[in-house]
């Protein structure tokens, strides 16, 4: 622990600059487009410079010993009486590279948006939201306090809600925004409960505070020793609650349903928020409070909380990749791919590979932003067409987009040696392989790798190769330079980043966990590493090869069935229907939700009028059954859950619409019952 250096005092500027920009842009009239864009980009650029400087500072101070150097900057937010609430900012090797990544990608995407959104009437508002998002995201990263992190976390969610629903004239966008917000809020409930529980137990929410913080040894020991319901350690219970929040934000199964729908937002938003930054916040949270997750673990880093994270991550990685195989919307494929890659990161965290997860997070941020912006460029060029079946041969019209997209695709698929994705995925496979609990997650990860290669190749074939299947006569055209330059920059980053994470020079690994990196090419050739590399190259090759063969001959028109569908029709349909997860929700969770509401309602009723309640419950059961058979309702996702809640609310409120005396009878009987309760206990 070190005191803050002078430059660490600039930490607060990171969130405040974009916030100021957001405030300024909000109050400026819709006609001041140029000024709004300039303010946003300017704030981003300055934030990027500061972040880079901070990164260098961390770099310099971390050279040498095995100690991790953390600079904290704590201050008292306010006092009340004798106690006070502390907040704090933190700079350490975990968040310093994230800061650079977020500001850098954010800057590029802001520039890109100037062109992409140029025809939108609400241009200024868009930039205000972007700034707000950026401020919240940076605040989340620099927080040295779980409460501050949570505040920013919710603000990020709010900004995401506003941006998904940005095109409010589209009902689907409004619905998607609502779905995203409510789904993540369900996860956040766990986060919130875990946080206040932690506060009640530990008395502070500071991460690091000179030995008294929640991530420092004394508190962790106390939390690991405390026992709660069912013999679970307090640390485990709180970790799992916090993981609910992380899973919600990072789209882990079963909270992933919102992320694909979130693609209703403008494409730069998808790139920035739903691929590169916000969704990674869940991963970052788990990495940040990793000591808490590992509090009950031994030296092999296996604890109940971490095991849960491992399994959920592994399952999500394969599951989402499988769904991506059968999607036809260019952005949805990328969205499921994002879910899958986030699963990889969680998997890495679960088996103890914090460094591997963060490396993959950063590498993924670059190439996924690249892919999304590339997809945006394609969509833009093809006249707002998003269905890959209606594209084809775009390679010829959009060479720059094609080249950069190909780089992104290869990075994502894990093409060997020259792409960052290869090395970061390699590192994940490596740590998963060493997990003592079970070999299954490792196999799942391998399957995910192969599937990734498969669906990305399929997408490339459909979009860039073959003949044009467009229904309109208009030829695709290359995007303007302001869009292609960010693409090129991101592509360069996607290639170069890999250097820092090879086993030969595990610089990043050391950077995060402390210690110095040495160059040793010999490590590449140890038996385990070499074998793994060979295996993964084999799988990637298999995935790409299979896809290339299956999609060798593309269907002639947009309405023809997918080649895969012809070969494996049932599997394909299942995948295309997203493995029926939304339907499953409708069939199970939502009636359950309704049942909870009905139970509450029944309680209400039973007190007042048992007979009527029994009758209505039978009717309700029948209606619930008929609803299950009603497939149409299923497709409305969470909305129907809300609907059932609404209806149970209707009955609760219906009990209020009685005449005065009936209500007074309620009051009187309520009092008698309270008294009986009193006498009975």
């Amino acid at each position: 622990m070190a005191d803050a250096s002078w430059i660490a005092h600039l930490l607060w500027l990171l969130p405040v600059l974009p916030l100021a920009a957001a405030a300024g842009v909000t109050v400026s009239p819709p006609s001041r487009r140029r000024r709004a864009a300039a303010a946003t980009i300017g704030a981003q650029a300055v934030a990027f410079l500061i972040a880079s400087a901070l990164f260098l500072v961390v770099l310099k101070s971390s050279g040498g010993g095995d100690e991790i150097v953390r600079q904290t900057f704590n201050f008292t937010w306010f006092n009340f009486g004798s106690s006070s609430l502390e907040l704090g900012l933190l700079l350490d090797p975990l968040n310093a590279p994230m800061l650079v990544m977020v500001t850098f990608v954010g800057l590029l995407i802001c520039i890109y948006s100037v062109a992409y959104m140029s025809n939108d009437a609400n241009f200024v508002r868009f930039f205000a939201f972007l700034s707000l998002f950026s401020a919240a995201m940076l605040g989340l990263l620099v927080a040295n306090n779980l409460l501050l992190l949570f505040i920013c976390w919710e603000l990020v969610g709010l900004a995401s809600y506003l941006l998904i629903g940005f095109w409010a004239h589209k009902p689907s966008a409004v619905a998607a925004a609502k779905k995203a917000f409510i789904t993540t809020r369900i996860g956040d409930l766990g986060f919130f409960l875990g946080m206040i529980w932690l506060y009640a137990e530990a008395g502070t929410l500071q991460f690091y505070a000179g030995g008294a913080g929640i991530l420092e040894q004394s508190t962790l020991t106390q939390l690991a020793a405390g026992i709660t319901i069912g013999g679970m350690a307090l640390a485990t219970a709180i970790s799992l609650l916090l993981f609910c929040g992380a899973a919600g934000k990072s789209g882990q199964f079963p909270f992933h349903v919102w992320l694909p729908d979130a693609m209703e937002g403008p494409t730069p938003v998808s790139a920035l928020i739903h691929a590169a930054t916000m969704v990674a916040a869940g991963v970052f949270l788990v990495a940040r409070v990793f000591p808490l997750f590992a509090a009950t673990a031994g030296p092999d880093l296996v604890s109940t909380a971490l095991t849960t994270v491992t399994w959920i991550g592994a399952f999500t990685a394969v599951f989402a990749a499988a769904i991506a195989v059968a999607q036809t919307d260019i952005k949805r494929i990328l969205a499921y791919s994002t879910v899958s890659q986030l699963g990889f990161m969680m998997l890495a965290l679960g088996v103890g590979g914090v460094a591997a997860a963060i490396v993959h997070l950063i590498a993924h941020a670059f190439f996924k932003a690249l892919l999304f912006l590339g997809a945006g460029s394609v969509i833009h060029g093809c006249g707002d067409e998003q269905d890959i079946r209606k594209m084809g041969s775009v390679r010829r019209f959009m060479p720059i987009t094609f080249a950069t997209y190909a780089i992104g695709m290869m990075a994502l698929s894990g093409f060997p040696f020259f792409f960052s994705g290869f090395w970061s995925k390699e590192e994940i496979l490596h740590v998963v392989h060493g997990w003592p609990q079970s070999p299954v997650p490792f196999y799942l990860a391998l399957a995910g790798t192969a599937l990734t290669a498969f669906y990305m190749t399929r997408q490339m074939r459909f979009v860039f190769f073959g003949n044009s299947r467009a229904e309109t006569a208009a030829k695709p055209h290359e995007s303007p330079r302001i869009m292609t330059v960010p693409l090129a920059v991101l592509a360069a980053a996607a290639v170069l980043l890999g250097i820092f994470a090879t086993p030969a020079w595990p610089w990043f690994h050391r950077f995060i966990t402390g210690g110095t990196a040495t160059v040793d090419f010999g490590r590449l050739f140890t038996a385990g590493t070499l074998g793994l590399m060979f295996l993964s190259i084999l799988l990637v090759g298999a995935g790409v090869g299979t896809a290339w063969v299956v999609y060798r001959r593309l269907p002639g028109s947009a309405s023809a069935p997918d080649p895969l569908e012809r070969r494996l029709p049932r599997l394909y349909r299942a995948l295309a229907d997203r493995l029926y997860i939304d339907e499953l929700y409708n069939a199970t969770l939502i009636p359950l939700h309704g049942a909870a509401g009905r139970a509450a309602d029944g309680l209400d009723r039973f007190v007042w009028n048992g007979m009527v309640a029994a009758l209505t419950r039978i009717i309700l059961l029948l209606s619930a059954l008929s609803q299950i058979t009603d497939r149409r309702l299923f497709n409305q996702g969470f909305d129907s859950g809300c609907e059932i809640l609404r209806r149970s609310g209707g009955r609760v409120s219906g009990a209020h619409n009685r005449n005065i005396q009936a209500r007074l009878v309620y009051i009187g009987s309520g009092m008698v019952l309270l008294f009986i309760l009193f006498a009975w206990i």
Partner: protein
């Protein structure tokens, strides 16, 4: 008894009383000249506002502290703070009254509002059952009159009668309960009652007294199952009266409920652990809290009128606050008081916006809010702040209210000898507050995303209305970012009082 001291202690209330009488006098004098509404309204409103400000100033600059006549009148930092809060809320209600369509006898309307404020201030500033009862009745009767003030409107009349009937029945229960408590303890002073309760055991008659008293307060704070008046009254009353009922009256109700429970019933908490129930008020409050949260939030989901929605959401919020009351620690008390003030301010603001919409579109159905963001952007933004704060999203004041509320409840669970079993209630509260987000979003969706239908009247807010709502919204934001402004004094004052 020193009459001078007495008068000095009561000076803020006396100022309000004089103001109220002056307003009536001016109104009578003007009536001879067949005055039209607007001028009279402005004069009465400014006079009222001036009176309220003077009273607030007196509270601020005269640091009297102490208690006279056996706790009938108590002046300490906590009561002074809450008197200020009540005055601020009354001021907003007065400004809102200016905004509504003028009714006849507008002077009396303003005056009765001040009488209600006097009642609430006396309720807050007492630790004696007689003054408490008369104060509650003074508040109650003033509010009945206010709710029924739009006499030509059938809804107002019906709401007033319903409010009156529910209120008087609960007052009868309350008085009966108080008589039993007096019989048990031989005193009407809260401190002495607490001593007697700690000395004597729990006996059945005392239990009945406790329950009946809770009925009376349950009515005031609109907790299930004593909440049944709230939806109709919120909907039927003129908006300023409903706002006063929803905010100031609730603040006073929670304040005095907390005081009675923690001071008067100090020896009769009991316990609410699973399998470890002990007779006392804690399990009762627990049951009321759980029911209020569930019934309030579920019923709010289906409301089509914003005022009814606010009523049910208020019932849900009462449930949240009761949870922390169960914890019965000073920290929890501070969190309840903080929360109720925040709740009052935001609800007041929401009613302010509803007032404007009501005036423009003659209704408060969800569809009446459509397209509002285009016509009154500042007002819409304020509504966003209020609702998001009520839903408990950071960084607004409502979030911090919830954070402190739930943390102090959890802290009471964690503390040795504290109340176990709070975890479940907090969990239920969190689930319910997630549900509550949904219905708040329904209204916001209308405001921001839905276009107004052809031919609907344009919403135009007056300067006063816009400013009032904006200031309340700004307060919500500021109190969210710097809760210490309010929480600090509350915790200090609570620390001094308990």
């Amino acid at each position: 008894m020193n009459y001078i001291e007495f008068t000095v202690f009561l000076l803020p209330e006396i100022v309000l009383l004089v103001t109220a009488l002056a307003v009536i006098g001016i109104d009578c004098a003007r009536r001879g000249k067949a005055a039209t509404g607007a001028g009279g309204t402005l004069a009465s409103a400014s006079l009222c506002a001036a009176g309220i400000l003077v009273a607030a100033l007196i509270i601020l600059i005269m640091p009297q502290e102490g208690r006279i006549a056996g706790g009938m009148l108590v002046l300490d930092p906590l009561t002074r703070l809450f008197k200020l809060v009540l005055l601020a809320m009354t001021l907003v209600a007065v400004l809102m009254l200016m905004e509504t369509r003028p009714v006849r006898h507008v002077g009396e309307n303003f005056a009765v509002m001040l009488f209600a404020a006097i009642g609430m201030m006396l309720v807050v500033g007492t630790e004696e059952l007689l003054v408490l009862f008369i104060g509650l009745e003074l508040t109650g009767i003033s509010l009945y009159v206010l709710v029924g003030f739009a006499r030509s409107d059938i809804r107002s009349a019906e709401a007033a009668l319903k409010y009156f009937l529910f209120g008087s029945v609960s007052a009868a229960f309350l008085l009966f309960g108080l008589s039993l408590i007096y019989g048990f303890s031989g005193s009407t002073e809260l401190g002495e009652i607490g001593v007697a309760m700690q000395a004597g055991g729990m006996e059945p008659l005392l239990a009945v007294g406790l329950v009946m008293t809770l009925v009376g307060f349950g009515f005031k704070v609109a907790a299930v199952p004593f909440h049944l008046w709230a939806p109709d009254v919120y909907q039927g009353a003129p908006a300023p009266a409903a706002a006063l009922v929803a905010s100031a009256s609730k603040v006073a109700g929670f304040f005095i409920l907390a005081k009675v429970l923690l001071l008067g019933f100090a020896g009769a908490e009991g316990g609410a652990a699973w399998g470890g129930f002990q007779p006392g008020w804690v399990p009762l409050i627990g049951v009321m809290a759980a029911l209020s949260m569930v019934v309030g939030n579920l019923a709010a989901l289906v409301q089509n009128r914003v005022r009814r929605l606010l009523a049910y959401s208020g019932i849900g919020h009462a449930g949240f606050m009761l949870i922390a009351l169960m914890a019965a620690t000073p920290a929890a008390l501070a969190s309840v008081l903080f929360y109720v003030v925040i709740y009052g301010l935001t609800t007041l603001g929401a009613f302010g916006v509803v007032t404007v919409v009501l005036r423009a579109r003659e209704g408060d159905r969800l569809s009446d809010f459509a397209g509002m963001s285009r016509q009154a952007p500042l007002l819409s933004f304020s509504m966003l702040i209020f609702f998001v704060s009520l839903a408990g999203l950071p960084p607004l004041a409502g979030f911090f209210g919830k954070f402190y509320l739930f943390t102090s409840a959890m802290g009471a669970q964690a503390a040795p000898g504290g109340q176990p079993g709070m975890l479940w209630l907090v969990l239920l509260a969190l689930v319910m507050s997630a549900i509550s987000l949904y219905y708040y979003l329904l209204v916001l969706k209308q405001i921001f995303f839905v276009e107004a239908a052809e031919g609907t009247p344009v919403i135009r807010a007056s300067k006063t209305g816009t400013w009032t709502c904006s200031i309340l919204a700004a307060a919500t934001i500021v109190l969210g970012c710097y809760p210490g402004i309010l929480l600090g004094p509350i915790r200090l004052a609570v620390g001094a009082a308990f």
